[in-house]
Symmetry: C2
Subunit: 530 residues, 2 copies
């Protein structure tokens, strides 16, 4: 008999369900949380369980038996216990959501030289993507190898949901969908559309706008055949970006997305690089966001990658249309694209998720993106203004020694407060805290894919899409096991500090288990025992 519940016991960390601006504190709870094995959803929690006696009493009160128990009988509810072990500094955390990743570019991670967007595309990206062609009916061996690898690796980094770009090829893109479904990763799968002759290479281009639409339909049909209700895998209409598509393709792809029932997601790139922005404005004679809006591509189901160089009026338009932004700082730094002013984007009301943008981004890890989101936000000048005052320059002069960092006030709060006091609440601080970046990686991403009620946290009723993080116990010098990562927890740290140590130095070694919809999709299945 399969257990009725998975009973997770230990420390649970997530971001409370508030606006990202208010998410300055982690919610850290100890106790138990149970997930139905029937639907993978969180059915309840009890934060009064602190030790084994409590747990026994709890089980007795519920009338639950542990599934390995020899006295288990069908009349009783059985549970499997999965623990986050305190002595190994383990905790459960929501799965990461990668709102922008190019699956076929995975082998190019770390290979981009010192190039910038547009020449990087022709030198590294298009030749790699073109090699996923195969025959009309089947994907080439490379697609099997790379797509299995990228899905396995992202799962191993704790990514439970990924919004993938494939290539222009139907068999390979279909394969990507199948691999995600088989390996249990939630995904949006996009067949890339690019039909503009003068902007796409001859060897890698749709023959026509009609072909862009027809081949996208083929992929949609495949995805609906393997996952009719889109429980794990859904199709996403994917015009590469404004420069690479004809107006006809943009029109028809928009129609396809907006006329389908249910409506389809749309993903594309926007304002990644200054030269790209110039080229788009010169081609279409309007602002970048207006281009997509003109073709009906700015919808509440649209994920726009990057948004580094958008104007305030474009932020306003994107917010009005309900479109989302995938913030990709690893990529934006690596390709010298610049820094997306995330605070400004959030303040304009836009929903923001994080994206690895493999392989403009060098790493398939959202944790690395969390780090870089924090770091690049610390390099933005604190000079932007909420109230449009004239050249309001709040120098980041929260440098003075501050007495205020005890108590509830985090340093971020206190410096923002100082800043606001100084300038009559006209300036603000662009710095993203670790907590805010983790919010974007989980709740933010969930909202970006319109699943804020399903994913991104441990609220009752949500799906158990989660990771078990192991920081490890302190091992004396020279004896530590490399396998547990290179974080040292000395034992005196508060939980908040442990989480910060994880964010700054964690990696896939710290990911001990990953679940999607209550099903373990990565990790040692032996962990699933009492």
């Amino acid at each position: 008999m399969a257990p009725t519940f998975l009973l997770f016991v230990g420390t649970f960390v997530h971001l409370p369900r508030t606006s990202p601006k208010a998410s300055k504190a982690l919610e850290i709870r100890q106790g138990a949380l149970w997930v139905s094995t029937a639907d993978g959803r969180i059915k309840g929690s009890d934060w009064s369980i602190f030790n084994e006696d409590d747990l026994s009493l709890f089980l007795r009160a519920k009338g639950w038996v542990i599934s390995e128990d020899e006295f288990c009988c069908k009349s009783k509810t059985s549970v499997t216990i999965i623990r986050a072990r305190e002595e190994q500094n383990e905790f459960f955390f929501p799965g990461f959501i990668d709102t922008h990743i190019h699956a076929p570019q995975y082998p190019n991670c770390g290979i981009f030289g010192s190039s910038t967007l547009l020449n990087w595309l022709s030198t590294y990206v298009f030749p790699m993507e073109a090699s996923f062609g195969g025959s009309q009916s089947s994907a080439p061996p490379r697609a099997y190898m790379v797509y299995n690898q990228v899905v396995s690796r992202t799962l191993a980094h704790g990514t439970t949901f990924a919004s993938y770009y494939g290539t222009i090829h139907v068999p390979a893109t279909n394969l990507l969908a199948t691999v995600c479904q088989k390996r249990g990763q939630r995904a949006l799968i996009g067949r890339v559309c690019m039909d503009r002759k003068e902007k796409c290479p001859d060897y890698y281009r749709d023959c026509s706008a009609e072909e862009s639409v027809k081949l996208t339909r083929d992929v949609i049909a495949h995805i609906r055949s393997i996952d009719p209700h889109g429980i794990l895998v859904k199709a996403v209409v994917t015009p590469r970006f404004a420069l690479s598509c004809t107006e006809k393709a943009l029109t028809n792809l928009s129609r396809l997305a907006n006329d389908s029932s249910p409506n389809l997601f749309i993903q594309t790139h926007i304002a990644e690089n200054k030269q790209e922005v110039k080229d788009v404005e010169s081609m279409y004679k309007m602002k970048y966001a207006r281009v997509y809006d003109k073709f009906g591509l700015l919808t509440p189901r649209t994920i726009l990658a990057h948004g580094v160089h958008l104007s305030s009026s474009e932020h306003k338009l994107i917010h009005e249309r309900g479109a989302k932004i995938a913030h990709c700082p690893t990529s934006n730094s690596a390709l010298t694209s610049g820094i997306c002013p995330v605070r400004k984007v959030l303040d304009s009301g836009i929903t923001v998720g994080l994206g690895t943008d493999v392989s403009g981004g060098y790493s398939p890890s959202i944790l690395e993106v969390v780090r870089q989101a924090c770091l690049v936000s610390r390099l933005l000048p604190a000079e932007e203004c909420r109230d449009n005052c004239d050249r309001c320059q709040c120098e980041r002069s929260n440098d003075e020694p501050s007495e205020s960092s005890s108590g509830e006030n985090t340093p971020a709060e206190s410096s923002a407060d100082q800043c606001e006091d100084r300038r009559s609440r006209k300036c603000y601080n662009p710095v993203l805290s670790v907590e805010e970046a983790l919010y974007l990686a989980t709740r933010g991403g969930a909202a970006a894919v319109n699943m804020a009620n399903e994913l991104g946290g441990f609220d009752i009723g949500m799906s158990w899409d989660a990771q078990l993080i192991q920081l490890g116990a302190f091992s004396p010098a020279g004896k530590y096991a490399n396998g547990k990562g290179h974080i040292d927890i000395f034992g005196w740290e508060k939980w908040e500090e442990k989480i910060h140590k994880w964010v700054w130095n964690g990696d896939d070694r710290n990911v001990k288990g990953v679940w999607v919809a209550g099903k373990m999709v990565f990790g040692n299945r032996h962990a699933e025992c009492k």
Copy 2:
């Protein structure tokens, strides 16, 4: 009989010994290189050995026998073979040199909230450092634990040389020197001096300028007692920074360093943060670099950490005095200090090394610093000017598709060329290439500690301070061993691309062995067999 030579066989990668500006290419060689076990120095190399037959012929021609050979006799030269295995994508690389790291702050890695320099010091740094006090004659248990850990961990990350700041405490600082010597890591060891009442907390301060000097002398005496010739460990005079020391302390510490025989190294901080710069200029009524120069602290044996906010005239002065700069980008981003314009510093002729600046920097890994050095350089505007033209603005508009990235030209070169063409060779590109950052991590660091002839490369006569890097063979999806890191080498990559993959996604898992002066100081000693 101990072997006479260590014979390293496989792929060797280093940066050629040129100025960093010219170091745009890696030198990648295959063959064998031998190191004397007597002095740990590289005695020769042969780049014509490509297979086992070649190796046998080579050994026969030399008359060398493998030390495990049962026919080994004392009349013959014996060798131990250590291989970088091609099928595991292994290579030898020079050891990393960390020119700026605070050993006692290691437990705080990743703990800094969103604070900036001066409040971070009082909130996180001083309380941690103060806890290393112990008694007058012995260091507390924490110092044993932390110092063993930080030396082990940095060795495990490939750091063969570190310029450490300790605390104000003599026993703990002496212990740090002993630990480095025992574990075989080259180090400069500095007892931190800070005696200015109004700028240092009461609980963590030297009582007087005399005490600063006296206690520094005590540490120097200990270090000379354990390593009289400074082969591995040397003392470095360490005034914390201009704000924390009285003029008397700066004067006397300068005298101590410059009058000792041999002269002692000096290390301190400079122009890390704008508020700090303002405070220093307001206290001393002169530019920051002039303050140190006034007290005789700018010498060819001086390492200045950070240098984020220095003027051109200060660059000129530092260059004239022969002082060095430790570039610490992880720290500078994390603490919102800004970006050090490394290209400008290098162009002014100053020697630059890299520093982790643990724990302003969140990671003890110089490889992480290499990555961040590359990334932050990509966020600097390409607007600075060699020839002082008026507001010369070379927008980073090397974004146009470029045909030129085939052949020898790297993308960095071609984009720099474009830039120079556009502005009549008046502008330049601030972007550091992967190769340049690796140069700073090895040759640059070696020059910063005045050991350019000894360390940082694989030239004949140099010390074998090296790491064996293992990228691992491709493992099919879902089956890869976490222990080998999360880089995927698919098999079609060129060696240059493998190195780039290492830089962008490598970590301590990829460090299989580390040697200092020919002695293995980290790794599996079983690797030391044929």
